[in-house]
Subunit: 147 residues, 2 copies
């Protein structure tokens, strides 16, 4: 009980499996100290770190991305400017995803009784068959490409 946590402790308290913690360590998302017998010991701050990883993952962010952001999150020392930068990057990415989801949700909301997303060229709402003209307003989603 020297104020550190074993893998088992962290697993129980964070809700992730021991194997997952090993994996995260291998991938560089978390770190551990070791006892003489090579067993992992963690600082309590690991719990927050794991919580962040879980939330971000659940939000669909890959471990690679999470790692790249967490790397600017050292366990001990951190400069305010480091923090500022990291924080704003996370924010930007999160905002982008939030926006994307919100748009999707609203897009879905905007269709009233058919299976299409546009009132414009929906076969149900367009019984005279005015399709095939590729008018504007129908491609908002299609052209939403990204790098």
């Amino acid at each position: 009980m020297d104020n550190t946590l074993s893998v088992g402790d962290v697993a129980r308290r964070s809700g992730v499996a021991v194997s997952t913690l090993h994996y995260y360590e291998e991938k560089g998302l978390i770190q551990s100290l070791r006892t003489q017998g090579k067993q992992r010991r963690y600082h309590r701050s690991i719990l927050r770190r794991v919580a962040i990883i879980r939330i971000a993952k659940q939000a669909g962010i890959s471990l690679r991305i999470i790692k790249s952001h967490l790397e600017k999150f050292p366990t001990r020392e951190v400069s305010p400017s480091d923090w500022q930068q990291m924080s704003s990057e996370w924010r930007a990415m999160l905002n982008e995803r939030i926006l994307s989801l919100t748009q999707l949700r609203d897009k879905l909301d905007s269709c009233i009784g058919c299976g299409c997303l546009s009132l414009r060229d929906c076969p149900l709402r367009n019984p005279e068959d005015k399709l095939g003209e590729e008018g504007p307003g129908a491609r908002i989603l299609e052209e939403e490409r990204q790098s």
Copy 2:
């Protein structure tokens, strides 16, 4: 040019690879008609469907989930009540994710100059070492489990 689209057309216009379209079809997310020669032909509405899939995926929603929602989205006939149900389910899930991301973002914002997420038990802001007491307010994230 009989008003249908080939896989290549769909690939070009939707921005996903042909192999991906094959895969989506195999997994039941999209359907196709076939020519005598067994080649796929799609109705134009495929473009929206694929757009939805892409957006949802980008938002971190699995194909399994997307499929389960799209299944209530038949190409031709759809009842208003079907739509209502699907729409509200998507909404609920999207709202959940949006909330999750927003919380994560705000959590990150709430820390000022250290690597922890809580002002409460941050080693930098808590130099007198009042740790190890497991007081309330420090476990919001940790206890955020779910099925």
